[in-house]
């Protein structure tokens, strides 16, 4: 009897240990995939691993990381935003036109668009609408507005924005510092504050939150408004790098952002997301999509496929790990 209990408890504790190891491994998976991509780049082209190389390769990673964070907020509430890409494009067009020529109007438009995001959150919650369909419809709205604001590619980024985005700090390239900052700030806000727990809880167990007296309407509005805010910053950062805009400039970001969240260890339902993971996921995608392929002499046709393949490989690795977790 006692031997059996002992045996059982031993088994349980070893299972717990293995589960903890699996969880740790799972948490490290995003970082491991990034390290793998970096190693591959270093092996293929050692000169790329330098201050200048990183500044160049990770240039576009900042807007991608910001868009990924925006998507992450929406996913924490068990929703999906299929309009973030065209929204980034719209913000880009406003940044390159109104924000430069009439800064006050520009700021008002951008704040208003964050307000629209908040309203969408409210609408989706109140009418219990499928977010996929609503945001798919909104993607047309943003694209239409972008074309109205900037019918032909052009415009110019405001000078202060150009100055920020071409900032060259000593030793560590700007994109890396920016990525660290974004990851840490959002991590603190969403993972370490009490309202962050409530926000994630609205995806994890909405019924329990409602019974505990929290307003699910408010959490959804806050999550969507945050998505809008980070979408705006992403669009501005993008224009700060490209210096001019185009109505289609952000279209690819919708899918990249979803892929980044999932690569970073986020789950579609249950409010299980990771801001730092999401930033790492975005960096991995940004690096794997073009620099790695260029160094491997793979034609750009296969860029999109590389994103898909990375996603599938990481998800497969996650399945293998989760099998041990149970």
């Amino acid at each position: 009897m006692t031997a059996a209990t002992l045996d059982n408890s031993l088994k349980a504790s070893s299972a717990r240990g293995s589960a903890a190891r699996a969880r740790l491994l799972r948490g490290l998976l995003p970082a491991l995939s990034l390290a793998l991509v970096l190693l591959a780049i270093a092996w293929l082209n050692p000169r790329a691993i330098s201050y200048f190389g990183f500044s160049l390769m990770l240039n576009l990673a900042i807007p991608i990381a910001l868009a990924t964070i925006a998507q992450m907020f929406v996913i924490s509430g068990n929703e999906l935003d299929l309009s973030i890409g065209t929204f980034v494009g719209f913000v880009g067009c406003v940044t390159a036109t109104w924000l430069k020529d009439a800064p006050l109007v520009g700021v008002a438009i951008l704040l208003g668009s964050i307000g629209i995001y908040a309203l969408l959150g409210a609408l989706i919650h109140l009418r219990n609408l499928p977010s996929i369909v609503v945001t798919l419809g909104m993607s047309f709205v943003w694209q239409g507005l972008a074309i109205l604001v900037l019918p032909k590619p052009g415009g110019k980024a405001p000078d202060w924005l150009l100055a920020i985005m071409s900032f060259k700090p000593p030793f560590v390239p700007f994109p890396i510092i920016a990525a660290l900052l974004i990851g840490l700030i959002v991590h603190f806000g969403l993972m370490r504050t009490s309202y962050g727990v409530i926000l994630r809880g609205s995806g994890g167990n909405p019924a329990a939150l409602r019974r505990a007296g929290w307003s699910l309407l408010k959490t959804k509005i806050v999550l969507f408004a945050l998505a809008g805010l980070f979408g705006v910053i992403s669009g501005m950062a993008l224009i700060g790098i490209t210096t001019s805009a185009d109505a289609n400039i952000g279209n690819g970001y919708t899918l990249l952002a979803i892929a980044g969240v999932i690569l970073g260890g986020g789950e579609f339902v249950g409010g299980r997301v990771s801001p730092i993971g999401a930033v790492i996921g975005a960096l991995t995608l940004a690096l794997a999509a073009s620099p790695l392929l260029t160094f491997m002499h793979i034609p750009p046709d296969w860029q999109v496929a590389a994103n898909g393949a990375i996603l599938i490989i990481v998800l497969a690795a996650r399945v293998l790990i989760s099998r041990r977790e149970r």
Binding site: N128, V133, G137, A146, N307
Partner: protein, 315 residues
């Protein structure tokens, strides 16, 4: 009166009412000119949305989270495959159609394998698959400028007294789909899974097989659609399927199918497809710019969804 009442109670009637209103608004604008031709054109274009819409409807009916995002990439690749296999010769039309069908079905199978093997939500599985398909298509279809065989292009554009033959065939197909949905074991199983996957499993429904069949069906329909589109527009194109991501999901939802799953509606897909096509025709007739057209399309879709409202997922 009783007929009116039973009609109003049908969720799909509103999509037809919407289509009719849009059509009336357009001919009121043109002063009655071109009303018939508009219906003909709308029918020919709606066909392509209906075919993928039916596939998407079966997938969405499987329950929350089920959606096929790979349809645009699938349509693009299948259109290229069909054109390459047909190689512009009339004798290869059937072979080309079968090749497109097989290509689409293979994509559907891969989608389900990813969902099943990686245990990931269908959205992510079909999304990652579509990334890869897109690249295959870009690489395979680069510089592809093969015209469809004349016989096939004529068939895709064939009309009998103003009614496109393709539309008649698609009506037959949708009748078949409605029968399969409501009267056959396969369709009832899809509905059962969408209502409660666990209960369906306990009741002996082979959940895995039905989901596999549904994703394969959706893929195969995407493949056929790609071939037909290439025939209708006289050439394959990487972007030929792009608009069908929104369109396929929108017609399902506007047509009265529940996004929460377990409740599907075939006639509504037709009504919604006609509504969307006529809406575009109307905006074009009014002569609005591309930006306004996109803006209004988006707003109307969001508006219709809001008016139709969602339902609580039954769990």
């Amino acid at each position: 009166m009783a007929l009116m009442k039973s009609l109003v109670a049908k969720p799909w009637i509103w999509s037809f009412v919407g289509a009719l209103l849009v059509w009336l608004a357009t001919i009121a604008f043109t002063g009655g000119y071109g009303g018939g031709g508009m219906v003909t054109a709308a029918l020919s274009l709606a066909v392509f949305t209906v075919i993928v819409g039916v596939g998407q409807m079966f997938v969405i009916t499987l329950g929350p989270g089920n959606v096929d995002l790979s349809l645009p990439a699938n349509i693009g690749l299948a259109s290229a495959v069909a054109m390459k296999v047909m190689g512009g010769s009339d004798s290869m039309i059937v072979v080309g159609l079968l090749a497109a069908l097989a290509c689409g079905a293979a994509i559907g199978i891969v989608n389900y394998l990813l969902i099943w093997a990686l245990r990931i939500p269908p959205i992510i599985a079909t999304l990652s698959a579509s990334f890869i398909i897109q690249s295959v298509d870009i690489s395979y279809g680069r510089g592809l400028q093969i015209k469809p065989p004349p016989g096939f292009a004529d068939f895709a554009n064939w009309q009998i007294s103003g009614v496109p033959v393709l539309a008649m065939l698609t009506v037959l197909f949708t009748v078949g789909a409605a029968v399969a949905l409501q009267r056959m074991i396969y369709g009832r199983s899809v509905l059962a899974i969408g209502q409660n996957i666990r209960a369906a499993w306990l009741a002996g429904v082979n959940v895995g097989r039905i989901r596999f069949l549904t994703y394969t069906l959706s893929g195969a329909l995407g493949g056929i659609d790609g071939a037909l589109l290439a025939g209708y527009f006289r050439g394959a194109n990487v972007d030929i399927g792009n608009e069908y991501l929104l369109a396929s999901i929108a017609v399902v939802v506007i047509g009265g199918t529940s996004v929460a799953g377990g409740k599907a509606n075939v006639p509504g897909v037709w009504g919604a497809a006609l509504f969307l096509v006529l809406l575009l025709t109307m905006l074009n007739t009014f002569g609005v710019s591309a930006g306004v057209r996109l803006l209004l399309t988006g707003l109307i879709i969001v508006g219709v969804i809001t008016a139709a409202g969602g339902e609580k997922a039954v769990r």
